[in-house]
Symmetry: none
Subunit: 213 residues, 2 copies
DNA sequence: CTCAGCGTCACTCACAAGTGGGACCTGTGC
DNA sequence: GCACAGGTCCCACTTGTGAGTGACGCTGAG
């Protein structure tokens, strides 16, 4: 589910990153795209958590790539691959919403950091981070930690959407042809799944996770 | 307006970052805080765009510091200062919403990246998810703008942040050292401004508009 | 088959939320 | 000086929410 895609014009860069990713624990193999077009196709299919993007992408360019990416995978964190001296591309990319940067000479430790980020995003709600740490973390997980990302059912999602639109439980019930009590049950279950204490927090978590817009 | 604050227990680290910042173009001098308390005071006054935060802050700790910071400067991006091996603090901080990390041995290039981020943030709305490709620095706030998009006051924003974190009105009052009634007043006014019928919808609208993350 | 998960509905109850007033103080701008 | 906005607090009131239960039928996986 959560994954990483590298989009770089240079085949050698792509290849090295893909190969390096194989040696990183906790990190699913990185998929590679050579152009913005390929990236969009991949992103649409894989909904990656992190996209490593060439800051000097030709033709459509990194800006256009990010714009299109935002359409198909709005919650992918873009990490720009830029040379240490290419501050100009970097500033531009950051201005467009990139979350961080790495040099194309990424090593195993840096990819491990990306893996940590993927896990951080996948396992908890409130975060919008970029290129994090070094060395693989994630050894211990307390048992109440969701080893499987809790998935909302269709009904729960519909109730959550209603909440985000300011509907009361009774109104949501009318919208969905349910009794208010049923809506309350769905609400209670989705609160538990999301770890929310009330509907306001549930909406916040749901939007951060991209469950609702 | 947009600024950077470093909060680190070590005076030498603070000092070096402050001094280094002087040599970075586009970056206003970095202000320094030695503790979470000092940070909150500074952040309330300066509303910084970026906060460099010691991952091993003593006493109140980085988590508490981030919580308080979110109250007084909800839009500040937290960048954690952690040693390359301190993945544990790092993961914790990222889980709490930190945007990135640096080692305490930050160099000029890394601060330049931070500067880039400051400019990126300062030149657009406080949005994080949808980065509108704009080159125009200041949208210019006219009366018409405010009519179409009411602006929340600092207090209203802080209350909204509390709501998105699942805090009750009474808890928000404790967080901000206010009476519950005052929180209710701020809540009522921000509901009106956002056109929300309850806190869940207010959170949804606030996140869509990028007022909160 | 059994069992877990989902969807549905019902009931109670404490309390939080939301709404309507009003009041006082402090800036800031005209 | 005045008006105005923001921030603070109070009272009283109605409504909704959230928690804690219990129950029944269906479906799909083991």
């Amino acid at each position: 589910m959560a994954g990483v895609v590298v989009c770089h014009a240079s085949a050698s860069v792509r290849e090295r990153i893909v190969v390096t990713s194989l040696g990183v624990p906790l990190l699913a193999p990185v998929r590679a795209a050579a152009s913005a077009d390929e990236l969009v196709v991949l992103a649409r299919r894989l909904a990656p958590t992190v996209v490593l993007l060439d800051a000097d992408l030709p033709t459509p360019g990194p800006g256009e790539a990010m714009r299109r990416l935002a359409q198909v995978a709005p919650h992918a964190a873009v990490v720009v691959l830029a040379g240490p001296d290419d501050t100009e591309s970097l500033v531009r990319a950051l201005a467009l919403g990139a979350r961080g940067f790495l040099t194309p000479e990424v090593n195993r430790a840096e990819l491990a950091a990306v893996a940590a980020h993927v896990h951080a995003v996948a396992s908890m709600a409130p975060a919008t981070p970029p290129p994090p740490p070094r060395e693989e973390p994630r050894p211990r997980e307390t048992k109440e930690n969701e080893k499987t990302q809790p998935v909302l059912t269709r009904r729960e999602l519909e109730v959550l959407v209603g909440m985000s639109n300011g509907r009361s439980n009774a109104q949501i019930g009318q919208d969905l042809y349910l009794s208010e009590d049923t809506v309350k049950t769905h609400a209670r279950r989705l609160f538990r799944k999301l770890g929310a204490s009330d509907r306001a927090q549930a909406v916040a978590i749901g939007m951060r996770r991209g469950l609702i817009q």
